[in-house]
C-alpha cells in the first residue's frame, strides 16, 4: 500500500488475530472485514497494546475478541460512547469502534449522531447487512421496506435509513463506503480513516449469507466511485443521495479539528480546590 510507513515491519496482519474462532456463519462478510482490519493495523504498524477495538452487540460486534488488541465488548448500541470515553481519557490510544447496522443505526442511533458532531478522533466501522442476524432475521433501519420476515410479514413499509448522508449532515470528518468482498480496498480505507484526525465513518456492505442470501450478488453490482472524494459535505451528500448505493470509495474528508479536551495537565493541586469552600 502506497501510504505504508517506511519502517521495519514488526507486526503482520496475522499478529493482530487472536486464537479465538469466530462464531460467524461460513461465507459471512464479516470474516473479510476482520481480515481488512488486521491488514490496516499491520499497514499502520499499530502496537497491539495501544490499539483498542470497541463494540456493542450483534454478529459483527463479536470482532474485538477476534483480534489480539485490547477489546471492549459492551452492551447493545453503546459502542460509540464507550469508545468516546476511552479515547478522551486516553488520547494516545488508537480506538476503532465496530458493529452492525442494528447496533449503530437503530438502538445506537442517537450516539451515531452525536459521535459525528462531537468529532472525537476515533474510527467507526459499520458492517451493514440490512438485517439483525444474531436474533435470526429481523429488519434493521437499512432494510428495504418490502423485505418480508416473521417480524415484518408484509414488509416494514418504512423507508431506509441513509447512514452516509446522516453522517455528513451530523458532521463526521471522514465518510466512506466499502465492500467486504474487497478486503484490500477496505483495508486501505480503514487505514486512511484511522490516519485521518477526527471522527471517521466507514459503512461496509457486508453480506449476510444466512438471512439475506441475495446479498451474495452484491459483488456483481458494487463498483468504485467514478469521482474522487470531496471536502464539500453538500456535494458529497448530493452524490451519495443520487447514487445506486453501491459506489465504493471515500466520499468526504474534512479538516475539522477533533474534540479532545486536555487531560493529564493539572493547573492546581487537589488540596487547593477546597480553598473556595473555606469561610
Amino acid at each position: 500500500m502506497s501510504t505504508a510507513p517506511a519502517q521495519a515491519v514488526t507486526w503482520t496482519p496475522q499478529d493482530y488475530k487472536s486464537d479465538y474462532k469466530p462464531i460467524w456463519c461460513p461465507g459471512c462478510g464479516d470474516y473479510s472485514v476482520l481480515s481488512s482490519v488486521t491488514k490496516a493495523f499491520a499497514a499502520l504498524q499499530l502496537k497491539p497494546e495501544d490499539t483498542v477495538v470497541v463494540s456493542g452487540i450483534g454478529c459483527s460486534s463479536r470482532i474485538p475478541a477476534y483480534t489480539s488488541c485490547y477489546g471492549f465488548h459492551g452492551v447493545h448500541g453503546r459502542s460509540l460512547v464507550a469508545g468516546t470515553g476511552l479515547k478522551i481519557a486516553r488520547p494516545e490510544l488508537t480506538v476503532v469502534v465496530a458493529g452492525g447496522d442494528g447496533d449503530g443505526y437503530s438502538i445506537g442511533g442517537n450516539h451515531f449522531l452525536h459521535a459525528c458532531r462531537r468529532n472525537v478522533d476515533i474510527t467507526y466501522i459499520v458492517m451493514d447487512n440490512h438485517v439483525y442476524g444474531m436474533t435470526k432475521g429481523q429488519p434493521s433501519p437499512t432494510t428495504e421496506p418490502d423485505w418480508v420476515s416473521k417480524l415484518s410479514p408484509g414488509g416494514t413499509g418504512v423507508r431506509t435509513f441513509h447512514p452516509l448522508v446522516i453522517a455528513l449532515a451530523a458532521g463526521a470528518n471522514f465518510v466512506a463506503r466499502a465492500f467486504a468482498g474487497d478486503p484490500n480496498g477496505t483495508a486501505e480505507m480503514i487505514a486512511e480513516a484511522i490516519r485521518t484526525p477526527g471522527f471517521s465513518f466507514i459503512e461496509i456492505l457486508s453480506p449476510c449469507v444466512t438471512f439475506r442470501p441475495e446479498q451474495r450478488e452484491w459483488k456483481k453490482v458494487v463498483h468504485p466511485a467514478s469521482v474522487q472524494w470531496t471536502d464539500d459535505p453538500a456535494r458529497a451528500a448530493r452524490r451519495v443521495m443520487t447514487d445506486d448505493g453501491f459506489n465504493v470509495g471515500v466520499l468526504y474528508k474534512g479538516i475539522r479539528p477533533p474534540y479532545q479536551p486536555p487531560v493529564g495537565k493539572a493547573r492546581k493541586r487537589v488540596a487547593d480546590l477546597e480553598k473556595e469552600f473555606a469561610i
Binding site: Y20, K47, P48, E49, D50, V52, V53, V54, P64, A65, S68, C69, Y70, G71, F72, H73, G74, V75, G77, R78, V81, A82, G83, T84, G85, L86, K87, I88, A89, R90, E92, L93, N110, H111, L113, H114, P261, P262, V263, G264, K265, A266, R267, K268, R269, V270, D272, L273, E274, F277, A278, I279
Partner: protein, 576 residues
C-alpha cells in the same frame, strides 16, 4: 417555645417571588452568620417555574453544627406574597413565630394570617425606593440579621464582598441593610442567638453536590461524563472546572445511556471515572451498570435522589431510589451502594465510594439526595481520609495472563490498555477466566461467585455505619434522614430516654454480622426513612435477621422528616 436562655438555633425563612432576590439575601445571611462564627444551612425551595416563580430560602442558624431543619420556623420574612401560600406545608409556624410582611405588598395569605404567629410589617419596597440603587431584599437581609442578633459589621463585610465591583449599588445596599436593622429593632422581637462558641475551627460553606464532587476528586476521579438533571446538575457544574484544574475532564453526554457507557470506557482505559444523576437517569443507566459488574470495570454513580416515580417531584428530596440501587440490575449483579449521612459526609463517602470501586473493580452507587445536594451549609472541614482509588493492575507480559482469574479475594489484576503482552477483551458476555465468552455452567457459576466474593469478603471497617449512643431502643436509618434522627435522639436524651443511632453508610453488600453486633442488647428498633413504601425496612427484612421488635417510620417527600416526629415516636414506643 419560651426560652430563658439565649437560643442555640434559630430558623428563618425568607420568601418572595422570583427576581425578588430571596436566594441572594439568604446566601448573604448565611455567609455573614458563618463569618460571625455560627453554623447554619440554607435549603432552597422554589416553584416549578424556570424563572420568576416563588422562592423560599429555608434557613437554620445556630451555635452548634446544624445538619437539618428544625420542626418549625421562628421567622417568616416575605419580600412579597406572590404564591407564597404554596410554601405553607414547608413552613410550620406556631405561637412563638413571627411573620414579617411588607404593607405595600398586601395582606399575607390566609394560611399565615390564621396561624398563631405574631404578625409584623416592614416597608421593604418603599424603603428601597427611598434609597436609589438599593433593593427590597437588602432591607429584608438587614431585618433578618437584626432579628437574630447578627453583628452588622459581618453583614456589611459580606455585602461589600459581593458588590465590590459596583460602588454605586454598594453604598445604597449598605443603607438598605441599615434600614432593615432599624426595622428589626422596631419590631422588638427577640430571636437573638447565643454568641458563637470559642475560636472557630476550620469551616467550609459548601453544598452536598459540591462536597460530593470534591470527594470524588480527592478519591482520584479524573473523568466524568454526565447529562444534566435536577437536582444533580450542580455537582456536574462543580466538577467541570474542578476536574479541568486537576488535569481531568468532564464530557457532557447526549443522554444517560451515553454518560454511563462513556465512564465505563474511560475507566477501562485506566482513569477513575464518575457520573452523577437522579432517579430517571439512574433508571436509564442500569443496563450499563450491569455491564460494569460483568466486565469488572470500576465506576462511581452518584444518584442525587428526588421525588419519584417517573418525573415525580424533581426539585424536592426523597429517599425512594434505594430499592432500585440495591436491586435494580438484571441478573445476579452484586454492586456497592453507599449513602452519605450529612453534607460534610458527602465528601468522605463519595471519596470512599471511589476507593471501593477501584479496589474491588466494581460499580459503586452513592445515594445522595436533593436535600444534601442543593443545601448550602456551614460545616467543620471534614477530616482527611486516606481513601484513594487504587486498582490492582496487571504487569506487562505476565505469562498466561487471565483477566478474570479466580483469585481467593475475587479481585484479579486488570490490564490497562497500553500495557504490552496482556491485552484482553472486556466483555459483558459471561466469560471464562481469560475473558473468552462462555455459556458453560461451570464458568458462569465460578464468575458469579468471584464477583460476589470480592464484595462480600471485603473488610469495610468501621466506615460501614455511624453508631452513636446506647439504649434499649435503637433507630436504624440512612442518608439524610439521619439528620432528623440524630437531633431526635439528642432531645430524647435530654428527657432521660437513651436511644442508640445506627446510620448505615454501606447499604450493599449487607453487613449482617456487623449490624447484629451493633444491635446487641437492643430490644426495639425503629427504622426511619423518607419514602412511601418503606424500602429500607423491606431491605433490612430481606437481608438481615434482626432479633428485636422492629417498627417502620416513614413518610414520602417532599417534606423533610422532622426531629419532633421521630422524637415523639421514640418516646411513645419506649413507654409502650
Amino acid at each position: 417555645m419560651a426560652e430563658v436562655r439565649a437560643r442555640t438555633s434559630v430558623s428563618i425563612a425568607i420568601a418572595g417571588s422570583g427576581g425578588a432576590g430571596v436566594m441572594t439575601a439568604g446566601n448573604m445571611l448565611l455567609e455573614a452568620a458563618a463569618k460571625a462564627g455560627w453554623y447554619g444551612l440554607m435549603v432552597r425551595s422554589s416553584g416549578p417555574q424556570i424563572r420568576g416563580g416563588e422562592a423560599a430560602a429555608l434557613m437554620r442558624i445556630g451555635t452548634h453544627p446544624i445538619d437539618g431543619l428544625d420542626d418549625r420556623f421562628d421567622i417568616l420574612l416575605a419580600i412579597d406574597w406572590q404564591n407564597i401560600n404554596r410554601f405553607a406545608d414547608e413552613l410550620p409556624l406556631d405561637g412563638g413565630s413571627l411573620v414579617v410582611g411588607d404593607p405595600d405588598q398586601g395582606e399575607a395569605p390566609e394560611v399565615y394570617v390564621k396561624s398563631p404567629a405574631r404578625q409584623a410589617k416592614v416597608s421593604m419596597k418603599a424603603t428601597a425606593k427611598s434609597i436609589p440603587g438599593s433593593w427590597p431584599n437588602m432591607v429584608a437581609l438587614g431585618t433578618a440579621a437584626g432579628l437574630i442578633g447578627l453583628p452588622k459589621t459581618e453583614v456589611a463585610k459580606v455585602v461589600e464582598q459581593s458588590l465590590r465591583k459596583r460602588a454605586d449599588t454598594l453604598k445604597a445596599s449598605l443603607e438598605a441593610v441599615d434600614a432593615g436593622y432599624a426595622a428589626a429593632a422596631e419590631i422588638g422581637a427577640d430571636y437573638a442567638l447565643a454568641a458563637p462558641g470559642s475560636a472557630p475551627s476550620a469551616r467550609w460553606l459548601v453544598s452536598g453536590n459540591q462536597a460530593a464532587g470534591y470527594g470524588a476528586i480527592r478519591g482520584g476521579v479524573r473523568f466524568c461524563a454526565a447529562y444534566p438533571i435536577t437536582p444533580a446538575t450542580e455537582m456536574l457544574e462543580y466538577l467541570a472546572p474542578a476536574l479541568a484544574d486537576v488535569g481531568g475532564v468532564l464530557v457532557q453526554a447526549e443522554d444517560e445511556l451515553a454518560s454511563a457507557n462513556m465512564i465505563i470506557g474511560a475507566s477501562f482505559g485506566g482513569l477513575p471515572s464518575i457520573t452523577a444523576t437522579a432517579g430517571p437517569g439512574l433508571a436509564l443507566m442500569t443496563e450499563a451498570i450491569g455491564l460494569a459488574v460483568a466486565s469488572e470495570v470500576p465506576i462511581v454513580v452518584v444518584d442525587v435522589m428526588r421525588g419519584g416515580p417517573s418525573t415525580g417531584i424533581p426539585a424536592k428530596s426523597e429517599q425512594s431510589d434505594l430499592s432500585m440501587a440495591v436491586y435494580g440490575l438484571h441478573g445476579d449483579a452484586p454492586r456497592i451502594v453507599v449513602a452519605p449521612n450529612s453534607i460534610a459526609d458527602c465528601v468522605v463517602t463519595t471519596q470512599w465510594a471511589v476507593h471501593l470501586a477501584e479496589a474491588l473493580q466494581s460499580p459503586a452507587l452513592v445515594l445522595s439526595d436533593q436535600y444534601f445536594g442543593q443545601t448550602r451549609a456551614v460545616v467543620d472541614r471534614p477530616a482527611d481520609v486516606t481513601f484513594v482509588g487504587s486498582r490492582l493492575t496487571a504487569q506487562a507480559n505476565t505469562e498466561g495472563y487471565r483477566r478474570y482469574a479466580l483469585t481467593e479475594s475475587g479481585v484479579s489484576p486488570m490490564a490497562i490498555p497500553g500495557t504490552a503482552g496482556v491485552a484482553y477483551t472486556a466483555d459483558g458476555l459471561e466469560h471464562n477466566e481469560r475473558g473468552t465468552p462462555s455459556s458453560q455452567s461451570n464458568d458462569h457459576a465460578k464468575q458469579l461467585a468471584k464477583r460476589e466474593r470480592k464484595l462480600v469478603g471485603h473488610d469495610y471497617g468501621g466506615q460501614w455505619a455511624d453508631i452513636e449512643g446506647d439504649g434499649d431502643i435503637a433507630v436504624l436509618t440512612f442518608g439524610s434522614s439521619t439528620c432528623a434522627v440524630r437531633e431526635a435522639i439528642e432531645r430524647a436524651r435530654r428527657d432521660g430516654l437513651n436511644a442508640k443511632l445506627v446510620s448505615v453508610r454501606l447499604l450493599a453488600p449487607a453487613q449482617p454480622a456487623r449490624l447484629k453486633a451493633a444491635l446487641e442488647g437492643v430490644s426495639k428498633v425503629l427504622v426511619v426513612e423518607q419514602n412511601f413504601g418503606g424500602q429500607f425496612h423491606k431491605y433490612l427484612r430481606a437481608e438481615y435477621d434482626i432479633d428485636a421488635d422492629v417498627r417502620s417510620f416513614r413518610r414520602p417527600g417532599p417534606l423533610p422528616i422532622r426531629p419532633d416526629e421521630v422524637h415523639r415516636e421514640l418516646t411513645q414506643w419506649s413507654r409502650a
